[in-house]
């Protein structure tokens, strides 16, 4: 009897996790992109009491790092539980030491890996095989999946094979391309999975577990006499594994009818040219081979599934005997090697075979290797064709690259971009939207509807940009009667939906739309007016391509139906109406059904609003007829200003414009070094509304400047004489504190860089006495202000900066006259982290060196195309680097060590050259204090003078000194990162640095979750908060990192919340930097992951402190010298109930909706915790230190 299985439309991560969860008892994970969803899904299933195939709920635990996760996996395996984990990239690398152990002990397990690039010249979250290729030596078997269905199937095969072979498995699939591709697949049911796993293999596994009733010793230390022999004992297990895997594949075929082999060949049986490939690219290669076969080319591809243990026997039996030329494609790079790993294996396997007695081929085939698809670089049919074309050459290019233009070492093959072989029977649709408008969510729903409610095959893939504010998304949907093997972005589409009118300017949205295709536009203009508002390039394209054109004012429909800015349902309805994929009534019924599924649990009201939106849509959707006349003759603006530096104009602008794929190798920096001060050229214009300064109300407190997360609002005090050429609309007022009226004061907004977050308006304390809603800063529509404010900003930026040496830097208002050297980041609108980062750049930017842990701050700080880290007019500014997630404290300490060493060496050299440069002059430089801005300025001047003297010297020591001269000016080392780094993965290193006594400053941007990877709990997560892996509310209190740091006694520690006290924050930053030793500042950073209105972030900070949840204090060990207690509490304990704070935030509030009883219990505990923390800190702060100094002196005597 044929078994009926569900057809489901899911992504690769879910496909893997579904099987892994069902066949595991323990799951230990650590979040890392793109594998995080597998762990999150498992956690969600466990929290809903989802059972595995044996009827019990797997235990899912989040660890502090991948090193921790794999340790827990090893332990769980040794103690007898079927255990799995999910990871990628650097995470997999952190697992390597334990992987040797697990394999060495012949322990069955499957690690599901979303294959991802390794950070080299830069970090990349995207997919290639760099990570998995680094574990091929560990003893793990390695099995690859090429599509979402294969991920689901191979996961089951791997779980079976590992138990039978005792060899642990890496099951890998391509990050993003497969892990995040949504595809319609057939779901394996519990009986399939049960049938796959032989229970005896589980019993045997359990028998081998550590058990005091049958004690054993594992993990011995062995000596030269026996280690080698011990290492060779495992050979027979590896020898047996390929057959075991093949048997598992055969068994799977019996169950499901889907056939897999260790190597699968596809193509002409007598092919002469074969491409060998592994991973999602194989699907595209197969699709291309189909096309080439129709043209009677004798070609084929060989897909490698089991990469380790490598079975030459199976390889040779699968390759056609006729093959003459082979191209092996590797999705990784090993600089300096003869070739990449798969290529080397194939060469070795075939060479070995050809040098044996039974030669498998008449003649040794020509084997070449090439690299493709690094960091999810597109791999298209035209590239596959180019590889086959290369094989046609008499001397094919070896060690080639495909997909890029290598104009330096000329490795790349040319490919024809116009070679497009999209399935003409399939429907292809592309959607351009904003992250915030719900486009992707709606498209995921659409593809689910099409996949699960029609007979069609369906695929969805979603491309996001690298900004967190104003980010755009492009959705790629394919569906049709044939299985979909196109593992690349849509090249020729039938339908384009543009969900935001302004995207017509920034994207070439019609580039891929075929002639006669359909274009749906969300337009604020009516059907009569819209044509004249379309950019010229769009009009031209539409006329040329003879497109069908539909418009809807989705914003209006959404607004009228109470949907606010969420236009997703409206646009989704339009898509179904126009595409005709389902009959109209059925489509609407399905959309409503999907709305019910998506929103139902959040309340009927939201369901009803969405229904209303659906019902109102069709009446507002219009087809627009247009003529052949181009009516818009305005030329498009350049992507960046003509004033931008060449590198920005030539290279970064291409990345900004979405044309980064066309940048040749020669234009890329060779070592990952990029210029700073580039964000200012982007001018993203993402805010609909921007702040406008009302000078007559302003009290010059500069709170708006301090709060602005994007440095888009600035203050300056300057001589009135500078105003001579001011633009007409430039605003100013008398600067406070200058009785002679000689100075003017201006607040200037960078309207093109502002994200419109509203935080500045919220913090502005000045209200109009006649109309209190009007403040000194108010929001107004951006468009009418754009041109004038651009000119005003240019004028403002050209005004001289206020003299740093005259500023009291520990005063909030004055500190904000310092130029920010961190500007216009792509962080979320209203980000709670960036005001602190910006403050560091203002206070110490011209001498700042930053070690930045991976996370949000490394993304908004260093993700291409541009960086917010900037330079002042002298060219000084922060220099920045990101090493890894786990090692940032050590990375920063290393910087300090180098600076100390080099500045010491410079002083030594200067002492040796004192006769040449002047003894007194040299001595002054060597011993100059550099505590104040003035002292630093003088030192800079002296060093500049010294430089002039040395440049004319013939003394060899002078040249030596010149190379380290800059170190004579003090540098400020800041180690920055989030709580995931400081509390969890980097804590060991952080702790070591805290204990080092070195002069480094640590800034912990504490959002209390892993914000960058989507809100997983960290040890900074508060008691009662909901986060991923704490779905039922965290039951343990937040780690008191400050107290741990204080325990060293000689570490400066401050806990700050700018929203509660900006004065305390500024003082803490100044003191921390001044402190000669380790300083750590833990900064409350409100975050989008808290589920709050971001413009109210500072209000939330206030509540956090007032409830006693977030103690504010400074702990300055220097105070002890003066007989004072080092701890100064700057909060008054719990003044309001904790619930007045936490229930303003979704992360806490949601628990009252999902589990009110537990919410109440945890809230009570949180209240108690706040009270206890207050007691404990109060006690510490009350200690009498008046004799401490004397006692210390006595001890020293």
């Amino acid at each position: 009897m044929e078994i009926k299985r569900n057809k489901i439309t899911i992504d690769g991560n879910e496909a893997a996790a579904k099987v892994a969860y069902k066949l595991s008892e323990v799951i230990a994970i650590y979040p890392i992109t793109p594998s995080s969803p597998m762990g999150e899904l498992s956690d969600a299933w466990a929290s809903e009491s989802g059972e595995n195939v044996w009827g019990t709920i797997p235990s899912v635990t989040e660890m502090q790092s991948e090193g921790g996760a794999v340790g827990a996996v090893h332990g769980a395996l040794q103690a007898g539980s079927l255990t799995t984990t999910f990871t990628a990239s650097q995470g997999l690398l952190l697992m390597i030491p334990n992987m040797y152990k697990i394999a060495g002990e012949l322990t069955p397990t499957v690690f599901h890996v979303t294959a991802r690039s390794l950070a080299a010249q830069a970090l990349s979250i995207f997919g290639d095989h760099s990570d998995v290729m680094q574990v091929r030596q560990t003893g793990f078997a390695m099995i690859a999946s090429n599509s979402v269905q294969e991920v689901h199937d191979t996961a089951a095969i791997a779980h079976k094979a590992t138990l039978e072979s005792r060899i642990p498995f890496i099951h890998f699939f391509d990050g993003f391309r497969t892990s995040h591709e949504v595809l319609k697949i057939e779901e394996l049911n519990d009986s399939d999975l049960k049938a796959m796993v032989d229970p005896n293999t589980i019993y045997d596994f359990r028998k081998r577990a550590m058990n005091p009733n049958n004690p054993v010793l594992r993990g011995t230390a062995q000596n030269p006499d026996v280690f080698f022999q011990g290492r060779e004992t495992v050979n027979k297990f590896y020898d047996a594994t390929p057959e075991i895997v093949q048997n598992a594949m055969d068994k799977f075929y019996e169950l499901t009818g889907r056939r897999y082999n260790l190597f699968d060949y596809y193509g002409d049986k007598e092919a002469k040219k074969v491409v060998i490939i592994m991973g999602s690219g194989a699907e595209t290669a197969e699709e291309t081979v189909d096309y080439l076969l129709k043209n009677e080319e004798k070609v084929g591809i060989l897909k490698v599934r089991l990469f380790r243990p490598f079975s030459t026997k199976h390889l040779l039996s699968t390759l056609p005997k006729t093959v003459e030329k082979i191209a092996v494609l590797d999705r990784t790079k090993e600089p300096g090697s003869i070739g990449e790993p798969l290529y080397l294996d194939i060469v070795t396997a075939i060479s070995e075979a050809m040098s044996s007695e039974e030669k498998p081929f008449e003649k040794m085939p020509l084997i070449i290797g090439g690299r493709y698809g690094l960091s999810s670089k597109e791999f298209t049919p035209s590239m596959v064709k180019a590889v086959f074309d290369n094989l046609k050459e008499s001397k094919p290019k070896n060690h080639f690259t495909i997909g890029i233009n290598d104009d330096v070492t000329f490795t790349s093959l040319n490919f024809d971009k116009s070679f497009i072989i999209e399935d003409t029977q399939a429907t292809k649709c592309m959607f351009y939207g904003l992250g915030a408008d719900g486009t992707v969510g709606a498209n995921k729903n659409s593809i689910k509807i099409i996949g699960e409610e029609t007979e069609n095959f369906a695929q969805g893939y979603f491309v996001y940009d690298s900004k967190k504010s104003g980010s755009t998304t492009v959705s790629h949907l394919r569906f049709g009667k044939n299985p979909i093997r196109s593992t690349y972005l849509i090249q020729e589409t039938d339908f384009v939906g543009c969900h935001l009118f302004v995207l017509l300017e920034s994207f070439d949205v019609l580039a891929n739309l075929r002639k006669g295709g359909t274009f749906l536009l969300n337009s604020p203009y009516s059907k009569e007016e819209v044509w004249n508002h379309l950019p010229q390039k769009v009009q031209k394209s539409m006329i040329e391509k003879e497109l069908k054109f539909y418009v809807i004012d989705a914003i209006e429909v959404a607004k009228n139906t109470g949907m606010g800015g969420r236009i997703n349902t409206v646009m989704q309805t339009c898509f179904f109406a126009i595409s005709g994929i389902l009959p109209k009534d059925e489509a609407i019924a399905q959309i409503k059904n999907s709305i019910k599924k998506t929103y139902g649990k959040k309340g009927e009201a939201i369901v009803q609003k969405n229904y209303e939106a659906v019902d109102s849509t069709l009446a507002n959707l219009f087809e627009v007829k247009y003529g052949n006349e181009i009516t818009n003759n305005t030329n498009p603006k350049p992507i960046v200003s003509e004033q931008a530096p060449d590198f920005v104009k030539d290279v970064l602008s291409q990345v900004i414009a979405g044309k980064g794929d066309d940048i040749p190798v020669s234009q890329m920096p060779i070592d990952g070094t990029f210029p700073t001060a580039t964000a200012k050229w982007e001018k993203r214009n993402i805010a609909n509304e921007v702040p406008v300064w009302e000078s007559e109300l302003c009290i010059q407190c500069n709170k708006c400047v301090l709060a602005c997360p994007h440095a888009a609002i600035r203050a300056k005090v300057y001589d009135k004489t500078e105003l001579e050429n001011a633009p007409e609309t430039f605003k100013f007022m008398d600067a406070r504190g200058y009785k002679d009226g000689s100075k003017a004061y201006t607040i200037q907004v960078a309207v093109e860089d502002c994200t419109g977050c509203n935080l500045c308006v919220e913090v502005c304390p000045a209200k109009d006495k006649t109309e209190v809603k009007r403040k000194a800063i108010n929001m107004a529509e951006q468009m009418p202000l754009r041109e004038t404010e651009r000119a005003n900003l240019d004028f403002f930026l050209d005004l001289p900066e206020f003299d740093r040496t005259k500023i009291r830097v520990d005063n909030v208002a004055e500190s904000q006259l310092l130029e920010p050297l961190f500007e216009y980041s792509g962080a979320c609108p209203g980000c709670g982290e960036t005001p602190y980062v910006k403050l560091v750049s203002q206070l110490f930017g011209d001498r700042l060196i930053v070690a930045n842990a991976t996370g949000c701050s490394s993304i908004y700080g260093g993700n291409l195309p541009t960086t917010p880290w900037a330079k002042n007019k002298d060219g000084y500014g922060p220099t920045w680097n990101n090493s890894l997630f786990e090692d940032n404290a050590e990375f920063g300490l290393g910087m300090r060590l180098a600076i100390d060493r080099q500045s010491e060496y410079a002083r030594e050299l200067l002492a040796k050259l004192k006769n040449e440069v002047g003894e007194e002059f040299a001595e002054t430089i060597i011993s100059a204090p550099q505590k104040t801005e003035e002292e630093i300025k003088f030192q800079r001047e002296r060093v500049a003078e010294l430089k002039t003297k040395l440049e004319n010297s013939t003394n060899t020591l002078a040249k030596e000194l010149l190379s380290v001269l800059d170190y004579l000016v003090i540098r400020s080392v800041w180690i920055m990162g989030g709580d995931g780094w400081a509390y969890d993965i980097g804590f060991g290193g952080l702790d070591h640095v805290l204990a080092s006594g070195k002069n480094v400053n640590i800034l912990v941007l504490d959002t209390e979750v892993y914000s960058n990877t989507g809100g997983q709990q960290s040890k900074a997560t508060g008691l009662a908060a909901v986060a991923k892996f704490a779905a039922s509310g965290k039951s343990t209190p937040k780690k008191d990192l400050a107290k741990i740091a204080m325990s060293y006694g000689n570490v400066y520690v401050a806990q700050v919340a700018m929203g509660k006290s900006d004065a305390q924050t500024v003082k803490a930053f100044v003191e921390a930097e001044k402190y000669e030793g380790v300083s750590i500042i833990i900064a409350y950073s409100h975050c989008i992951a808290h589920g709050i209105p971001m413009e109210k972030g500072f209000e939330h900070q206030m509540l956090a402190v007032d409830s006693g949840y977030w103690p504010m204090f400074r702990f300055n060990p220097d105070n002890v010298k003066e007989g004072k207690n080092p701890l100064k509490l700057e909060y008054k304990g719990p003044k309001i109930p904790i619930t007045d704070y936490i229930y303003r935030e979704t992360r806490y509030k949601m628990l009252t909706k999902s589990n009110p009883v537990r919410a109440k219990k945890l809230a009570d505990l949180a209240q108690k915790q706040a009270e206890e923390v207050w007691k404990s800190y109060s006690h510490m702060a009350e200690q009498d230190f008046s004799n401490a100094n004397n006692e210390k002196n006595n001890e020293n005597q």
């Binding site: 992109t33 793109p34 995080s36 969803p37 956690d43 969600a44 929290s47 809903e48 979250i125 993003f176 995040h180 904003l434 992250g435 915030a436 719900g438 486009t439 992707v440 969510g441 995921k444 979603f462 996001y464 690298s466 900004k467 967190k468 980010s471 998304t473 606010g564 929103y599 649990k601 959040k602 309340g603 009927e604 009201a605 939201i606 009803q608 609003k609 979320c828 993304i859 979750v1009 914000s1011 960058n1012 990877t1013 989507g1014 809100g1015 909901v1026 986060a1027 991923k1028 892996f1029 704490a1030 779905a1031 989008i1088 992951a1089 589920g1091 709050i1092 979704t1146 992360r1147 949601m1150 909706k1153 999902s1154 009110p1156």
Partner: protein, 330 residues
């Protein structure tokens, strides 16, 4: 001593009923109220806004920033189920019903005829013995006439009473041009009782922040004069159960309420201040007073000092106003 009274057709063991307040938010406090002698309990209100906005808010913040950035396609774990406003409330009604012996009166607070009125039926299905409809409306639109507002009240009551078979009481504000006429029209619209009156929580000003701030003040004793007057006026003119709320603190206040014509006296502020046990104290005092003053039942005193039963009906009208002013003359 007979303390029984009838309210909305429900036979109650005495006239003391805790009105809609946070006191009914947890079962143990509600149980304590019952143990102390409460004869019924009005559950805290389910707000129209709660129904329409809360789910929107939850959806908004749970999806804020989602599907925008490749590393974080969401920021929160998916929960299988959320007990949103109505469900949470309906569960609570059912739990109260299971835990308490006394009648449970559900409370709906809203102003429009929107989908929220359907929840009246849900409240009935959850086990409520009666429903209090709290119409809290501040007419700020100068284009809306008093007639339109009155019609809105009537339509809302009609919409609700058509959905349920349990009795519905209407809690309304004192700001009607013709309260007595309004009472009759509400009766015609299907109401079985009136609760006098809704206290409009007046916002306060924070002069430091120049902000309008909510400021909840518990009721004071003098506030019961207004309902007292209207109980006295309406008693006998309408065939409705009447409840007084606002400022009732002692057995004397309860007695006055009864004498004016009330069927029950509702308390919240007094219980919030002094705890659930306060009911038993008031009941004791009430019985003692009745003994001392030789009253044998509550029914005996109900309406005994209503407008139609007093010697000087004008005391409730303009004449009384003149007397009041004179009493303040220096």
């Amino acid at each position: 001593m007979e303390l029984k009274t009838n309210y909305l057709g429900l036979e109650l063991k005495n006239p003391i009923v805790p009105s809609a307040s946070p006191l009914s938010e947890n079962i143990s406090t509600a149980k304590a109220l019952e143990d102390s002698g409460a004869s019924a309990i009005v559950v805290y209100s389910l707000f129209e806004e709660q129904l329409s906005h809360e789910s929107g808010e939850l959806d908004h913040y749970l999806s804020l920033g989602a599907e925008s950035y490749s590393e974080a396609t969401s920021y929160f774990p998916e929960h299988d189920e959320y007990k949103m406003g109505p469900f949470e409330y309906l569960d609570h009604i059912a739990n109260l019903k299971n835990s308490l012996e006394i009648p449970i009166i559900g409370s709906l607070n809203g102003v429009s005829k929107g989908g929220w009125v359907d929840y009246a039926k849900n409240i009935q299905d959850a086990g409520a013995d009666a429903l209090e409809l709290n119409i809290y409306y501040v007419p700020t639109n100068p284009n809306v006439t008093s007639f339109q507002i009155e019609e809105m009240y009537i339509e809302t009551v009609k919409a609700i009473t058509s959905k349920v078979t349990i009795p519905v009481a209407v809690k309304l504000s004192p700001f009607f041009s013709s309260m007595a006429n309004m009472a009759i029209r509400l009766e015609e619209a299907g109401a079985k009782g009136l609760v006098l009156f809704n206290r409009f929580y007046q916002p306060d000003f924070d002069l430091e922040k120049l902000k309008v701030v909510p400021n909840l003040q518990l009721s004071s004793n003098w506030e019961m004069r207004l309902p007292l007057r209207w109980l006295a006026i309406l008693h006998g003119q309408v065939n409705l159960s009447l409840a007084a709320t606002s400022g009732i603190q002692t057995h004397i206040d309860v007695i006055k309420t009864m004498m004016a014509g009330g069927n029950v006296a509702m308390l919240a502020s007094e219980l919030l201040k002094k705890g659930p046990n306060r009911i038993s104290e008031i009941l004791n005092d009430l019985q003692n007073w009745m003994v001392e003053n030789e009253y044998s039942s509550i029914k005996q005193m109900q309406g005994s000092m209503s407008q139609k039963s007093v010697a000087d009906p004008a005391a409730f009208e303009r004449a009384n106003y003149m007397k009041t002013l004179q009493s303040y003359s220096l």
